[in-house]
């Protein structure tokens, strides 16, 4: 029996729940760690970045307005979908990062577990970081966290899947929407993740994934007036500084790059980085100083 010729996949961007090619019509060559050609990935343009922001803004109202319970269900659904397609991701991660299948499997398992971890956070974070404030007066006073809006995420360069998931999940868990720039060298696991997201009840536009040159796509996102925050994890020091300066223009929330062990317990830092605190006051109309008398 002769060897069957395999069918290659055309990798596409993920914007607004759809899979467009780059507006620029450009692609770049993605190779494995040994330099073997794997695929042509879209080389996103500034226009792609702007389209992704529009999609993320459009999705923000619905996603931030969904109940925390619902968001948890959706995040958990992503884990379920990934579990079923684990082999594909193990192969892609092994190719992308030049590691063994078993090491890649560890990463993929951890990434799936990370979705589960964040799925469980959606309806707990408000109680951890919010609450009643005991003001000195007859007022009901409550602080609650709210999502900041559209977050531009520069995914880590080295950890093409576990790192990627670790920076996307906390942003959407709390109700923000994301425009993600995948690892420049290893973008394929990110593009495959978009296929999972598209079939996981994650509304279109909540996560948008772009591939290409990090610096080229990040610059317009950092300067974009309709982006509320930027996660600089996948940038080097010089690019991070330039992007932070651009982000100051509309006072974006900035998460600076720092060394991260993605295998470790992530804590709540990435959840709270993209939350605002809203405090609501209302008079209580206290009836007397003595309190309840029964």
């Amino acid at each position: 029996m002769s060897d069957r010729l395999s069918v290659f996949k055309t990798y596409k961007l993920y914007v607004g729940g759809k899979f467009p090619r780059s507006e620029s019509g450009r692609v770049y060559e993605v190779t494995d760690s040994k330099g073997k050609w794997l695929a042509n990935a879209p080389l996103s343009s500034r226009k792609d970045a702007r389209d992704a922001v529009v999609a993320a803004r459009k999705a923000f109202g619905g996603w931030s307005g969904a109940t925390a319970y619902n968001r948890g269900q959706v995040l958990y659904r992503v884990a379920e979908m990934l579990e079923g397609r684990k082999d594909q991701f193990v192969r892609e991660v092994a190719d992308a990062e030049g590691i063994s299948k078993s090491k890649a499997a560890t990463q993929v398992d951890a990434a799936i577990d990370r979705w589960v971890w964040y799925a469980g956070w959606t309806d707990k974070i408000a109680q951890i970081v919010g609450g009643a404030n005991p003001v000195a007066g007859p007022f009901f006073n409550l602080s609650t966290p709210e999502p900041t809006g559209v977050v531009a995420v520069v995914a880590p360069q080295e950890s093409s899947f576990l790192g990627l998931v670790s920076v996307i999940a906390p942003v959407i868990a709390t109700g923000s929407t994301a425009v993600v720039i995948a690892s420049e060298k290893s973008p394929l696991p990110a593009l495959s993740l978009s296929e999972v997201l598209a079939t996981s009840d994650v509304p279109g536009g909540v996560v948008n994934i772009l591939t290409g040159k990090t610096a080229e796509i990040a610059a317009p996102l950092a300067a974009h007036q309709d982006v509320n925050a930027i996660d600089l994890t996948g940038t080097d020091a010089e690019l991070a500084r330039d992007l932070e300066i651009a982000a100051a223009d509309n006072l974006k929330r900035v998460l600076r790059p720092q060394p991260v062990d993605f295998a470790a317990d992530p804590g709540t830092h990435r959840l709270t980085a993209f939350l605002e605190t809203k405090t609501v006051w209302h008079p209580t109309g206290s009836l007397g100083a003595s309190g309840s008398a029964y």
């Binding site: 951890i128 970081v129 404030n133 005991p134 003001v135 000195a136 007066g137 007022f139 006073n141 602080s143 900041t148 509320n228 020091a237 010089e238 991070a240 500084r241 330039d242 932070e244 300066i245 982000a247 100051a248 223009d249 509309n250 006072l251 929330r253 830092h269 605002e276 605190t277 809203k278 405090t279 609501v280 006051w281 209302h282 008079p283």
Partner: protein, 478 residues
């Protein structure tokens, strides 16, 4: 014509405060001259009288102060929390003891009515130190993990609208968490911070833990840019906030920014109108409107527009403008000639763009910086007076028909600091509060503050929160 309701003058005594003819910088526990010997004058905005001459910090002085703070940090951060707490409790108590003196001082230097310094600023200043004193030995329980570490030296730059209160907001949490401080008060209101230096002395606070550097923007910029400052805290204009955000880019400095606002105060047709009118007045005319969270855009439901505006104009006609030291004064002086010029220019722009201007009929004193409470009607969202922060006693009135329209208009701003809602319908309060992009929402009340309650903005109103448990995060390595 004298009104039958005319009050006799009821001035607070100036003699409770002893202002020295000159003050130095407060560095490492000592008052000292500026390195280049420069001084500037601080005047009373209500009379233009020179109150004192104050040393003007330069970058060299900033460097000295940061060194002192760095040296003090080692011991201060190593103190048991309970000991730091006791210093803060001492400071809080001394503030209470000297509260009348400080209220008069603040009114003289800032121009705001004694009623406000005495009943709002000073009680809150003491309360902030009390509140954060109690956190100093409980940081393990604050939700930032066990034994959270202080950042180091905090460089803090504060504005002139609430000089002592902003100092308290900045210094209390910084010291409670084990940081040391270099603080630059605004050039028009340096005195209460220098009196605070004396309170630190009375409290026996170790040298160098708190350093006070009166000066101008160049000193502030040198402080926030100083490579040995670990934490930058700024309250002031959005433009300066953006400059600071650019300046700290690529560094390890943690930064919090409390910037401008253009707060919407939304009055629905079922609101308790009399209370709403009081709330509108508090919202925009408290501290002559020189408040970042002021309710400077009134959004009133079309069906009650006439009723609300009539009542509002009637109420504004009874406000008493004049000597800030008079206990019956409602509206004091604008803080500086510069600020008065800005307010005047923006109000003229409002008229030029076709908005209708109405000012309360009050006589303005012949000396000092004064601006009558003013409102603009026929304002659209495109008008400058509906978009730019005026930071003065100027209210822009817009109308709406539906709650959705109110929310859309309220959120149509680069800012996101505060908002107000007036309605008797509870579900509407919750629905609207939920949709407003603002850090503080006051429902059926306005301009309430408390040390336990986090304060801070969304969008271009800044980063981070001050007050409450949330306020600790800005000063901890988390």
């Amino acid at each position: 014509m004298t009104s039958p309701f005319e009050y006799a003058p009821a001035p607070e005594s100036r003699s409770v405060v002893d202002i020295a003819p000159s003050y130095g910088l407060f560095i490492d526990g000592e008052f000292t001259d500026a390195a280049d010997g420069k001084v500037f004058k601080t005047v009373s905005p209500s009379t233009e009288e020179v109150l004192s001459e104050v040393a003007q910090a330069s970058s060299e002085d900033v460097d000295r102060a940061v060194k002192a703070a760095r040296k003090a940090f080692e011991k201060w951060s190593a103190l048991p929390g309970a000991e730091r707490a006791k210093y803060l409790f001492r400071i809080a108590r001394i503030i209470q003891e000297r509260s009348r003196e400080l209220a008069v001082l603040e009114t003289l230097d800032n121009g705001k009515p004694i009623k406000e310094t005495r009943d709002a600023d000073l009680p809150l200043v003491a309360a902030h130190f009390f509140y954060y004193a109690g956190w100093a030995d409980k940081l393990d329980h604050a939700g930032y993990g066990p034994n959270p570490a202080p950042l180091g030296v905090a460089g803090q730059v504060i504005p002139w609208n609430f000089p002592l209160l902003m100092l308290a907001w900045k210094i209390a949490p910084a010291l409670a968490t084990g940081n040391t401080v270099v603080l630059k008060p605004a050039e028009t209101t340096p005195l209460s911070a220098l009196f605070f230096a004396d309170i630190c002395r009375q409290a026996g606070l170790p040298k160098g833990v708190v350093n006070i550097l009166p000066g101008y923007g160049d000193a502030g910029a040198a402080l926030t840019a100083h490579p040995d400052v670990n934490k930058v805290a700024f309250t002031g204009s959005t433009a300066v906030g953006k400059a600071i955000a650019r300046q700290v880019a690529g560094t390890d400095k943690k930064v919090t920014l409390e910037l401008g606002g253009k707060g919407a105060n939304i009055v629905f047709d079922d609101a308790p109108i009399d209370q709403a009118v009081e709330g509108i007045v508090t919202g925009i005319f408290f501290n002559q409107g020189q408040v970042c969270c002021a309710g400077s855009r009134l959004l009133v439901q079309e069906s009650v527009q006439d009723e609300v505006l009539d009542a509002l104009k009637r109420r504004l006609s009874t406000l008493r403008l004049g000597d800030p030291l008079d206990k019956n004064t409602d509206i004091g002086a604008i803080n500086s000639a510069e600020q008065l010029a800005r307010i005047t220019a923006l109000a003229e722009t409002g008229e030029a763009e076709g908005a209708e201007r109405w000012s309360a009929p009050c006589e303005l004193p012949s000396s000092g910086y004064w601006f009558a409470p003013t409102l603009f009607t026929n304002v659209t969202q495109a008008h400058t007076v509906a978009r730019d922060e005026i930071f003065g006693p100027v209210l822009s009135v817009l109308t709406f028909r539906t709650p959705d329209e109110a929310v859309a208009k309220a959120n149509n701003t680069q800012y996101g600091l505060s908002a107000g809602i007036w309605t008797e319908k509870g579900s509407r309060i919750l629905a609207v509060a939920n949709k407003l992009r603002a850090g503080v929402v006051w429902a059926n009340t306005f301009n309430k503050f408390d040390p336990t309650s986090p304060f801070g903005g969304y969008k271009e109103s800044g980063h981070g929160r001050e007050g409450g448990r949330h306020g600790l995060e800005a000063y901890l390595d988390v």
